[in-house]
Assembly symmetry: C2
Homo-oligomer: 481 residues x 2
């Protein structure tokens, strides 16, 4: 049971919370754009300073090869469990800029939501835990559990340096469980505990043809066009049904039992809901699965970007010298991103005509995860959602990717409670990203209750978690989720 004064402290100053979140959102901490590297660093420093201000004693900005990690801890509850709260303060590029109603890094509140790049993914969600911790420290002067905060600046580029950091700092990060708020609920009144995430493999493919752009009058019809080859190769990566047409791609996909699918179907968004959230006229994809299943228990390949030749106004009579595509796979257990990359390379080497060169560069790779939903941390999280949102959460898998969850599972040996406060139409990764203010405050309340629930476990119980965890590992290898 949460102390009422903690909740009151957290929720009676909404204006201050919004002002602080706006400060956080104002940093264009776009991790993928080298021009924003300084902004990412400034954002990390602001975040660290903010954590110090709310009373955390041990706050560090830890440099990596690219963007820094912000780490903080409070270990004033010996004998209580330790919780690792992860979030990311980097954001997706804001482009296309012309489609934003208000500037992406000038946050505004409109219709009960705060609009800015990163509002939902993940600054706004991450902020709920900061406000919960602040409320405890400013009222009780202590937290019900030990906490370690790990906020990274590279999630949107596939966490290239975080996994090494986790490996090298297992003692620093030693905890009983992790908590992450970086996922979505199916709808406003339907919270969800996410027990599975798709993995990711992000690649850049380049097709090179003639040494320089050619006049399409002088050479059109006689020289193979890199753009055309790129289209042919990409078109060939799906069969007409919408399945990925890379031999071997589905071989290691772990089947999901009919029972598990039925159980999920009760709580999962219907096709109509998925389409409404996508604002798309109709669905597409692999036959035999609902739209929700296609984005959770089935893998996918998406072309994220394609460019080559002339894209300005009017026409330009050229055969471009090269063309580039950005691709990303979303993978499910037990697909291994490195193996999928090898399969793609084999397919490309078979399908590349002798007229052009094709090269592939990996941008990031992340393993898929499925967590054992019977783990006690999920019960604590479910009770927290009930307190924050007045509803029991559904257990669902998500289509997204959070690379660190697999690292927590395999390196630290701990589960992660994916307690998301976003909504499917928050337009994350898209123009006009926003986060419901209601969810900001319900999220804070949920976090406060979650810390309280976790605090009620004693060390003996914690040990039982660890034993459970060992069982879980066995189950992971043996069965289906």
């Amino acid at each position: 049971m949460t102390r009422p004064d903690v909740l009151e402290h957290a929720l009676t100053r909404p204006g201050r919370s919004i002002t602080e979140l706006k400060e956080f959102l104002r940093f264009p901490s776009v991790s993928s754009q080298p021009g924003h590297a300084r902004d990412v660093r400034r954002c990390a420093r602001w975040l660290a300073e903010h954590l110090r201000r709310i009373g955390l004693p041990d706050v560090r900005v830890i440099p990596t090869r690219r963007h820094p990690i912000v780490y903080a801890s409070w270990c004033g509850a010996p004998g209580r469990p330790s919780v690792l709260i992860y979030g990311h303060y980097d954001v997706q590029p804001p482009e296309p800029l012309a489609e934003w109603r208000t500037a992406p890094f000038e946050p505004v509140v409109r219709g009960g939501s705060i609009y800015a790049r990163g509002a939902s993914d993940d600054k706004g969600q991450l902020f709920t835990h900061i406000k919960a911790i602040e409320a405890y420290l400013h009222t009780a002067g202590r937290l019900p559990v030990n906490v370690r905060l790990l906020f990274e600046g590279e999630e949107e580029i596939g966490s290239p340096n975080l996994l090494g950091f986790v490996k090298r700092n297992q003692d620093l990060l030693s905890c009983d469980t992790a908590v992450i708020s970086d996922t979505a609920m199916p709808a406003e009144d339907r919270p969800a505990l996410i027990f599975g995430l798709r993995g990711g493999l992000s690649l850049e493919m380049e097709v090179t043809g003639p040494a320089h752009d050619l006049h399409s009058g002088s050479f059109g019809g006689a020289i193979h066009n890199p753009l055309q080859v790129l289209c042919e190769i990409l078109a060939g990566l799906h069969d007409p049904d919408g399945r990925v047409a890379i031999p071997g791609f589905y071989d290691s996909v772990r089947p999901v039992s009919a029972t598990a699918r039925e159980r999920t179907a009760e709580a999962a968004p219907m096709d109509e809901e998925v389409l409404l959230n996508a604002r798309a006229p109709r669905g597409w994809g692999e036959p035999g699965y609902t739209l929700h299943e296609r984005v959770t228990i089935r893998p996918a390949l998406t072309i994220n970007g394609l460019c080559g030749g002339h894209c300005g106004p009017g026409g330009k009579g050229i055969i471009p010298a090269r063309a580039i595509a950005k691709l990303s796979f979303r993978l499910v257990p037990d697909q291994d991103p490195h193996h999928v990359e090898r399969l793609l390379r084999q397919t490309l080497s078979r399908r590349t005509p002798p007229t052009v060169g094709v090269s592939l560069r990996r941008l990031s790779a992340a393993f898929p995860v499925v967590l054992d939903r019977r783990h006690p941390v999920f019960r604590a999280a479910a009770r927290a959602y009930e307190a924050g949102f007045g509803a029991s959460p559904a257990f669902l898998r998500s289509g997204g990717t959070i690379p660190v969850v697999h690292a927590f599972q395999t390196i630290l040996g701990i589960p992660t409670a994916l307690v998301g406060f976003g909504l499917p139409d928050d337009r994350i990764h898209s123009p006009n990203e926003h986060f419901r203010l209601r969810h900001l405050f319900q999220g804070i309340a949920t976090s406060i209750e979650l810390l309280s629930q976790l605090g009620e476990f004693d060390e003996t119980r914690t040990m039982r978690w660890k034993r459970n965890q060992a069982d879980e590992q066995v189950q992971f290898r043996a069965g289906s989720p």
Copy 2:
């Protein structure tokens, strides 16, 4: 026979000619980019002023709906033929800028060539005629023929306003023949008289999917990706052999006789030469034809540009809301660009899946032409080439498109001598465009001799041209070139 003092005047001041050409090349007269509209106008005014300075009495800058036409005439040779000299002072966009060794609009001379956007296409080539006229006016005080100069600022966007201008001003433009230098010779010592040009049809295709970019984790696998649809549609527009896979596309292609093909093969570039000029490792395209034939007597479809989604550094996990492709057809007699557009629209409407929208916008359209190479103007041009380059020209068709040639043929009823001074590796439409200085001066000498040759025809002979022309029209309808 050209008067020696005319040649001497033209060729003994190379430094001045180069300085003037550099001034002309410094204008970024990029017709397709609205941001350069003022530069196009400034370039037109400079050109007009230059024509006045060399002594032409009647110079006009004629506004159109977009970029102005520069017109000038000298009609001081009554009873002599009239020659319409056409060129274009607009240029292609200079992008990609990073690939230029020196800035595209800061002309420099390097290794015997002048480097700048427009150096070969078409400012440098157009300039040869201006220098030839100047040499006559400054030495003899007169020209051997009447001339009308027509320099447009919209060739690179498909001459949208010139055809209407020609239609409305048939009296102003009334001439016995046209002369254009806007094509290439097969190699340095091998001039070519071009007797055929491919037509063009330039289009922008847009595929639209969801109302805004979607997170590819949340939706990848369930929502059709406009980029993927675009790739599938574009890949389907060629069959695996390299033929255009639009039903009916080849129906109106006029066959070329085996004799005509053999005759051309003797003078045409070999496959190896085409590849050398393209700096491409090997050829591609429609089976049964040489590379030169594929770009001259056969039509082609080229993707000139493709863009959608994320093209910046790193990855971005999105399904983009839309994707755009720039396409252009090169057409041969008797293909009609408007009919080809209808065929494409039919094909697209059959191949567009119900998950997306596809729209098509025409950017420009031009008819293909074949000229009767027995016309006497070609004999005059051949003698001019002999004088300027010391070699008889080959008779070849070109793969390029000059929209106005069809208008001269059908509206004014006159043939065009396509007396090109470019080379296949001038990198027109590409970074590091350049023009050989040797060809600039040999071009001036050729133009001087051509005007002289044309001046030797008397009015009786001119009348015979016109009768020939009537025959030609009949032949055009009936036979093959």
